[in-house]
Amino acid sequence: MAAVSSPALAAPPKLASLIVQRKTLLIGLIVLTVIALLAILAPLIAPYSPTRLSVVNRLKPPSERWWFGTDEFGRDIFSRTIYAGRLSLLVGAVATVLAAGIGIALGLIAGFFRRADPVIARIVDAMMAFPDILLAISLVAALGPSLATVIVALGIVYAPRLARIVRASTLIIRELPYVEAARALGVATWRIMIRHILRNLVSPVLVQATFIFAYAMLAEAGLSFLGVGVSPEIPTWGTMIAAGRQYVGQADWMTLFPGIAIVLAVLSLQLLGDGLRDLLDPRLRKDL
């Protein structure tokens, strides 16, 4: 019989080539990396200190000297935009980690322990009945506005989305033969939950976490814009747009550039999330 090359027997493609094949993933990754590098290296890149006041140079339009113009106190908007990226990205990332921690724990417990399920599922359903910004501002109002409370509030707001996904997957995985086998071998419950169930949830959690990162950044910008988030003195993209609001029609660059920064950051995360979903979900891989 002639040798037939079977795709099933072919060597699995390398991660790098899989990423390069997916344009959305690649573009998202590149844009996000550039934004993250600009934010991390802000002290080296920024031409001016983000807090340096220069009243004589207030509200200057974009030029060779001030690439993005200056604000009402003469501060350089380019420097502020890249510095603000540090905090906006940090809030999004930490809120996502917190949401993942709470969501994964709740979802695993609800999916694994039948008695806990109705209570947790009900709480998750109820939490998802609140619009995210509204719940976040209520939590910030209750806890008192600060950077930490914004992060905690966003973590709580987005945790139910992950809890729902983790619970649904856990309910299926816990009935699979290998989990039953592990149970029969006397493997400890926590070990089954972490080694056998959680490991299989990495893909859906990673995809969802990328989208939550994007939503959390949008929500943080919204909270800061409303003045219920971080202090207006701290440069985040949201607080910068809020400050520029007073100068609409007079210094439009004050709102334009921080807004473009948010759009690019959120867009890159959405592209990354979409690309990851294609990469990690074998059902969608055939669409390539």
């Binding site: 009900r122 709480i123 359903d125 109820a126 939490m127 009945a129 609140f130 619009p131 995210d132 910004i133 509204l134 719940l135 501002i137 209520s138 939590l139 910030v140 109002a141 209750a142 806890l143 008192g144 994007a214 949008l218 910008a221 919204g222 814009f225 409303l226 003045g227 219920v228 747009i241 520029g244 609001r245 609409v248 029609g249 439009d252 709102t255 334009l256 807004g259 948010i262 759009v263 690019l264 959120v266 867009l267 959405q270 592209l271 979409d274």
Partner: protein
Amino acid sequence: MTRYLIQRIVGMIAVMFTVVTIVFVIVRVAPGDPAAVMLGPDATPADIAALRERLGLDRPLVVQYVYFLGQLLRGDLGQSIFLNMPVLSALAERAEPTFFLTVFSIFIASAVALPVGILAAYRRGSLFDQLATTLAMLAASIPSFWLGLILIQVFAVRLGWFPVSGYGGPGAPFLVRLTHLVLPALALGIVSSALITRFTRASMLDVLNDDYVRTARSKGMGEFRVVMKHAFKNALIPVLTVIGLTMALLVSGAVVTETVFGLPGVGNLVVSAVLRRDYPVIQGALLVIAALYVLINFAIDMLYLAIDPRVRY
């Protein structure tokens, strides 16, 4: 069917009960004394004690909770501290701009998203499809308040076509009020159209290759009729779900957008309540909006029955 309805209503009540409990907890987790926080640093101990008594904060938590439930059952959402009026009246007074803003936004979003989503799916892989998919993702990445500011800069400040902010003042004719809603509805509608476009496209792709679509074509039916009558009708359920959920999400978007455009709606009321720590208003708004979300979900489920004869409970 009756059994399903009863189950669904019981489920809805259970979720609402949990919503009420969460709202009760949120206000009580506030560090320190909520009465002192609400009255600010200048309040005397006597003022704080009086407010604690008025709000029932001096009673044990369980008693407060039972009293809170009793109040809600009587349709009483409490009294606003700063507006000095019942919360329900404050919400009702500001419902009109929010209602029309939500309706216009969903109209704009659907008017853009449905044709674009259908055409993108019909011409899958074409330049139009790629452009529509990219623009949908871009729209989903734009903060509605920022888009609102850009619209103000262009259409209100530079071109002067629409008012910059407000709702036309008390007693303004409906048409004047409408002109105040155009830009905020556009800002919210464009952002919301992203999700509806993506769902419409995906849902249409699912049905466009089905046998009944092929059969309709083989019978010589015109393409428009095939796509709209046979394909779109069958793709409608997920699309309706996402339109319903978008409607609920728009309330969230309205919180920020109303502030940008100075619209005296529920969103604006909530933001002022948060800045003034007017907890009864925050509590009432959270409850009413969550209840609306639960009801919209229920209405969508019921709508399935009306539009799809295959759905039987």
